[in-house]
Subunit: 339 residues, 2 copies
């Protein structure tokens, strides 16, 4: 009751966009941190990161550095996670990994606390944070599935460049300036010019013609929902700095009216409905960036299917899609007495 | 054989983005024009428009001005068409109307020449040009439907601002400059800031929660295809100057492999397949702008449905989505001996 336990918190990838958002989110939500340990590759070691009023030197991420860390938030990319996370788990850290490295391994819970917090009970020291596009989607799918039964999902995304990191945001702005001043837009981080363009793929291609970003949605939705709900996704990069949007078509096991769906969604955790046609008040990525909610609008019948609904879902991909969800996992583990 | 007939061609809305594209397209395709009659509202009258090397004064669009015009290409907005097109038809013009004013009227053929040129035979002096998003879609649907039978379509669009006219393009660039220099982006033409944002609706709302832009796709696909193929659309504006993209999920009456679809599409008129995963060569609006083809890529199985396919379709909305299709209608009428 009194003396609340405090934790030593490591941030692996502390200089990255998600790492900094992790620190910000932990501070905002007053996570009980006794000590901060910012970690990054040798290249960034020595850099100073701000944690509230403290300025802390970044340490090299190597196995010895994990000693004494209670929670390690990892967001330095899949290869770094593959190389270092097992050592951190061995040292006794609880690792919350934001990369795709371990998400689909059977022994690793993949958790969105609003959906499947119970999966945390079986953790073996490593919990995976889902891909950004999946996290915001399942927050909306879960209450609808519980109420009406979902049979199939067709999703097209409008993903912000922040999903590709700091340098992709810079690239969007630099290229925009180049185009506005009549120069060619030169891609360096993203695979094609993004300014005043859309790029109809994200990530690498799998043999079936989907990208890994798209198949992540199919696989992760199934794992988090605990059921193989057929899901097909088309992931598209748009010239937006931050905030992922999704156009989602859902087939239910029976007819569901927009009003029924609205009643369920407005009671569901983390969801904000923005669906005012008179005021044209809908979820826009520009407004949603910097906030925690998952916003839903354009809720309407599917004129092509008697059991269908269309929805427009937007969330801050660095928050619910990454840092917020990771911090919520840690909070939940504390609350459930799992640490 | 010899003395090919030449026509007096009126352009209603000659100072607009589509009007100018009409003139450009007629010239490029060497449509047999005897005389040009640029027409616009009183506000634009007296303005000079360039037609090749000629500089022609714009005349006020009023019933008397239509006398002697063989083909009138109309793209000055639905209200102007409603007010003036009947008078033009009465004067004996063949009107090819690019607005939605008459598209769904039973006596008006709605034509995409690659799909339903035969509908021109019954024309009563007025032919409607479909909405931009519909035109590029049906060019792809038609050969697939003929080969495999389409049962249902779920479409999410990524529409360029040029669909909202000249001033919307200026607005995109002005707002982008405003954001890049740290100022607020002020919307005037579009209903919300578009720079570095997406706007999840286009047009006005209907009672069922769809926008008229979305319901146009449902209704126009059915009319052009000659069959009520269930279609649901979500129309989204993205910060792209020109070129509409569509993420399209198609359910067929039987399983169709990507390879079968590819074989059909590569034989179909006006379609260019761009689907090279190694070279990352796909349809991008930035590349497609200024060209005539309808580009198809990301052709792949639907992992959520045994009879489904996903496609990514991009075309220049001012060309196939407007001016090119209108000019093709006129060409086809000449070819079919209907004028």
């Amino acid at each position: 009751m009194t003396m609340k336990k405090k934790y030593t918190v490591g941030i692996l990838g502390a200089t990255g966009l998600v790492g900094r958002e992790m620190i910000k989110t932990l501070l905002e939500r007053k996570f009980p941190v006794a000590k901060w340990v910012p970690l990054a590759s040798a290249r960034s070691a020595g850099t100073v990161v701000s944690v509230g009023k403290q300025h802390l030197p970044v340490q090299i991420a190597e196995p010895e550095a994990f000693k004494g860390i209670d929670f390690l938030f990892s967001s330095a990319g899949g290869n770094v996670s593959k190389a270092l996370v097992p050592a951190a788990v061995e040292q006794g850290c609880i690792v919350i990994d934001n990369t795709s490295a371990f998400r689909m391994q059977d022994w690793v819970p993949l958790v969105v606390p609003e959906v499947n917090a119970e999966a945390l009970r079986n953790h073996k020291g490593l919990i995976a944070n889902p891909n950004c596009s999946t996290a915001q989607l399942v927050v909306v799918l879960k209450p609808l599935h519980d109420a009406f039964g979902i049979k199939r999902i067709v999703c097209s995304t409008y993903q912000a460049v922040s999903g590709a990191g700091n340098k992709a945001i810079e690239e969007l702005y630099t290229q925009s300036e180049q185009v506005l001043s009549g120069q060619p837009a030169l891609p360096q981080v993203l695979p094609y010019p993004i300014a005043f363009n859309v790029i109809p793929f994200i990530g690498d291609f799998e043999p079936n013609g989907y990208t890994n970003e798209e198949m992540k949605m199919t696989h992760e939705v199934a794992k988090i929902m605990g059921e193989a709900i057929p899901t097909t996704a088309t992931c598209v990069r748009v010239p937006v700095a931050n905030g992922h949007s999704e156009s989602v078509n859902i087939e239910f096991s029976r007819p569901v009216s927009p009003q029924e769906a609205r009643l369920v969604l407005q009671e569901a955790p983390l969801i904000t409905i923005r669906d005012d046609r008179q005021l044209r008040h809908f979820p826009y990525p520009l407004d949603v960036s910097g906030t925690d909610s998952v916003y839903v609008g354009r809720i309407r019948e599917d004129v092509s299917h008697p059991h269908g609904l269309n929805l427009w879902i937007v969330a801050d991909n660095l928050r619910k899609g990454a840092a917020l969800n990771a911090v919520q996992i840690a909070e939940k583990m504390v609350e459930m007495g799992l640490v």
